[in-house]
Point group: C2
Chain length 251, copies 2
DNA sequence: CCCGGTTCTGGTCGATATGACGTGAACTTG
DNA sequence: CAAGTTCACGTCATATCGACCAGAACCGGG
């Protein structure tokens, strides 16, 4: 096929009136934790294509807003939750034919929320539900468009995000025990973590968790009451990624 | 301002004929290393806006190609270099007014090349040049649009890429000494690395470098001839990111 | 040809980080 | 109050990391 619909070399010389038109959308992979299970908020489509199928919530970007603002707006519309800092852009998707009706490029965001369940009802979407991420990955729940790939990429992103930032605290409440926080890591990474070592590592990390003086109540099985922490603010960054650690350092 | 030009809630109910039209472009931050200096390939704009200013090369995405393919095509047009695996998408930019003429969302890619200098001449751009990244960051060279931000984000990305992948080998030749490779890390991270420790770490990393039997010639100052390596293939990944290491592991 | 200068490469050593595990404290239920 | 559970803290062996040293292998000049 011949390219150059609009002098595909740009921007050093092109006709602004002559370019392929796209719709730009933002899609938000909203992750939450329900009883140790990682879940994703999906909406059911009410029209073709992919009528009746589940999809990641999203919507058009407006010319008057930034991508971040568009994602923010969609998040609020979907969950009534207003928390700018936890939105992380992680990819753009524009394969031809990904939407059979028109040319769409979508910019995908990751949002991590606690207990989004109560808030789903307030959505203005026709139908919204929390679905186990595992069911999406193994194909039990089929997603519209290329949303399976998007969810997969979101999951990959949150996995590294857990390690390099304190984003895990977004999964839990404003105060939480280290056992709760640990269960987030265990669910997302699919591993078992030693409680004592986990405590050592997390507390050593600067700005991730801050001890409140208070203690939680014991669970139904008893046990020593756990210390309550609140989130540090070491996980609000704007751009792509950071963390230039060293491979091996000299003098 | 009122939103909802096209029922901004989508995709659970919208009119496909009624949405804001955008141009979608791909911009490529092409980094290379010239005598220990990190440089970026820029093109000079030949028209308004930002006439005469430097910009990151890029161009329109076509409806018939993927974003990766568009980036690939632009890279070839700009440098005649064909190497798919070293293109990494790292961000999307769509602030209103970033292009005063129309609504443009750009998807930014990072490309790392060796010795792009000889190849710049073959570009079909009006004027292309390698510019020190430092000069861009400190404002000595002003960039058009929001390209300064894009270059900054690209640099942040390549910094972490160096650590988690063997991408550093893309900066050097097909065979290289560890001193050459080390100078890449030192330039990008802005630090001094101990040669002996660097060797230990790099060689321990699986699939990053592979020893050829051969040895390089000594430099003008003499010295023991360095062993020659070639790149392993541990740095071709598609999606966003990977690497779920653990914070602290249990049994 | 020897010698000082240079670079590469292998090794040592102490500090720190990590994984495994033990023990007492504090709370539950019966 | 006894038994069971969870949390908090400490210990210990091992692995990794940063600093550094010394020998090997090359250069140039005397």
């Amino acid at each position: 096929m011949t390219t150059r619909t609009a002098r595909a070399q740009a921007p050093a010389g092109y006709d602004p009136s002559q370019f392929p038109a796209f719709a730009v959308t933002v899609d938000i992979v909203i992750l939450t934790m329900v009883q140790g299970e990682l879940q994703v908020l999906l909406v059911r489509r009410g029209q073709a294509p992919f009528d009746g199928m589940w999809a990641v919530p999203g919507g058009f970007k407006l010319p008057t807003e930034t991508l971040d603002q568009a994602a923010q707006r969609e998040l609020v519309e979907e969950t009534r939750v207003d928390a700018a800092s936890l939105l992380t852009q992680f990819g753009a998707y524009g394969d031809p034919g990904r939407d059979p009706r028109m040319n769409v490029v979508t910019v995908a965001y990751l949002a991590v929320l606690r207990d989004v369940g109560t808030v789903v009802a307030g959505s203005d979407a026709a139908e919204a539900a929390l679905v186990k991420v595992a069911d999406v990955l193994d194909g039990s729940v089929e997603l519209a468009f290329d949303h399976l790939r998007i969810v997969r990429d979101a999951l990959a992103r949150v996995r590294v995000e857990l390690e390099v930032s304190g984003i895990a605290t977004a999964f839990v409440g404003t105060t939480f025990t280290l056992a709760e926080l640990r269960s987030v890591y265990e669910a997302v990474w699919g591993v078992h973590l030693d409680g004592a070592n986990f405590r050592r590592s997390i507390v050593a990390e600067q700005g991730w968790v801050i001890p409140t003086g208070r203690h939680a109540q014991s669970g139904p099985a008893g046990g020593k009451p756990a210390e309550l922490f609140r989130a540090g603010r070491a996980w609000k960054h704007g751009g792509p990624i950071r963390r230039p650690r060293r491979l091996t350092k000299g003098k």
